[in-house]
């Protein structure tokens, strides 16, 4: 640096600042992408169309026309809910009686899967979860004693129920009845 002229030093620092700016923009984009995509899922056209704010919704089986969420599985029947804990706990219930795989997965606002319960874990018992925000004490959210509490890392997030549907046409009545046991609603207290 000693041998550089003042003008050369100026350009060196300018170049360095530009490089740091590009790296920061790159990292910020990588950080922001999952959060922005989840915002589209939580508040975008699909959420509006299905009216799934603290309410379970039941989209039709996946086809080539299903373009709301990337990499949909054509072998699964999906049910969905956007949970919003800003007003308190959300209660999630389901009692699908099915011989094959099903699961209820919860995703935080940064897209992480922070909870899952499948049919083997449920062992034939109904699912009954009280979803609370990490910043709120369960008592404040009117969670009854003994209830199964799940703490969400974010105030809003996404619930995705998967039901294995290898042959939807043949099993339609059984599968639809099973998945429509899903409830996802703001808790009213004990």
């Amino acid at each position: 640096m000693k041998h550089l002229s003042a003008a050369q030093r100026l350009w060196f620092y300018r170049g360095l600042t530009l490089l740091v700016t590009a790296i920061l923009a790159h990292l910020l984009t990588i950080w922001a992408v999952p959060r922005l995509i989840m915002q589209v899922v939580l508040q975008g056209p699909m959420a509006q169309t299905l009216n799934m704010h603290n309410r379970a919704a039941f989209p039709p089986p996946v086809t080539a026309q299903s373009r709301a969420i990337v990499m949909p599985s054509p072998d699964l029947l999906y049910s969905v809910c956007v949970f919003d804990l800003s007003e308190g706990a959300v209660r999630v219930r389901a009692a699908p009686q099915l011989p094959n795989y099903w699961s209820i997965a919860l995703y935080s606002a940064n897209s992480d899967n922070f909870f899952v319960r499948n049919d083997r874990q449920a062992a034939g018992k109904p699912v009954d979860l009280w979803l609370v925000p990490s910043s709120g004490a369960p008592a404040q959210d009117r969670v009854p004693a003994g209830a199964e509490v799940v703490v969400s890392p974010s105030k809003t997030g996404f619930l995705l129920m998967r039901v294995l549907a290898s042959d939807y046409q043949a099993d339609q009545m059984m599968l639809e009845a099973a998945r429509r046991t899903l409830r996802c609603e703001a808790a009213r207290g004990p």
Binding site: S66, S111, L164
Partner: protein, 202 residues
């Protein structure tokens, strides 16, 4: 005075343009990296198949989280589901929807499995026969227990066919639901399905 003010303004303008370019390079490189790599930072590669054991997990690094959000949003953690993705055939050539492939393998160590063909936008192909995937319930097994199917623009006689119309990139996704703990611990122990190109591409 006026010439000096004009020179200062020009310097500010050039500076602003340079910084905007730097931001554009940073944002563009991030989006390019995410779009070009279906799974970043793979934990293991078996044959043509790559898996990231942190997909969907709260332990995911920021590149994995972003890559999964772009290419496979709402993935499950590996105890629930492992996702192996192939973007190449066994010869190392990128999968193309205008080429025919035979995929052959044996049932993986998992409760349930499926293999699905996706276009390079990670959505399903518009398959006229409604075959988007092959799964463990419908796959016909040989006497040795192996299964096979074909993908591509033309149906191969006697095979289960996943049509891939158009002329674009594609990937195959192998989903393993409730994989055995040994496979979760050592994903390279998977007997990876083979992907062989059949003939010339259209």
């Amino acid at each position: 005075m006026s010439a000096s003010r004009s020179a200062t303004g020009k310097r500010w303008l050039i500076g602003a343009l340079l910084y905007l370019s730097a931001v554009a390079v940073g944002v563009g490189s991030a989006l390019l990296v995410l779009k070009k790599a279906p799974w970043l930072n793979p934990s293991a590669q078996v044959g043509a198949w790559r898996v990231n054991l942190h997909a969907g997990s709260v332990d995911a690094d920021m590149y994995t989280r972003a890559s999964v959000a772009v290419n496979g949003l709402l993935a499950l953690g590996r105890e629930e589901t492992m996702y192996f993705i192939a973007a190449q055939d066994d010869s190392g050539h990128a999968l193309r929807s205008n080429c025919n492939y035979r995929v052959k393998g044996s049932a993986p160590a998992a409760r349930w499995w499926s293999i699905t063909a996706y276009a390079d936008d990670m959505f399903l192909f518009d398959a006229p026969n409604g075959h988007y995937s092959l799964n463990g319930d419908i796959a016909k097994r040989s006497a040795e227990g192996s299964f096979d199917f074909t993908t591509g623009p033309t149906e191969q006689p006697g095979s289960y066919w996943l049509p891939t119309p158009g002329k674009r990139g594609m990937v195959l996704t192998l989903r393993l639901y409730n994989p055995e703990p040994a496979l979760q611990a050592a994903p390279q122990s998977l007997h990876a399905p083979q992907i062989e190109r059949i003939g010339e591409c259209l």
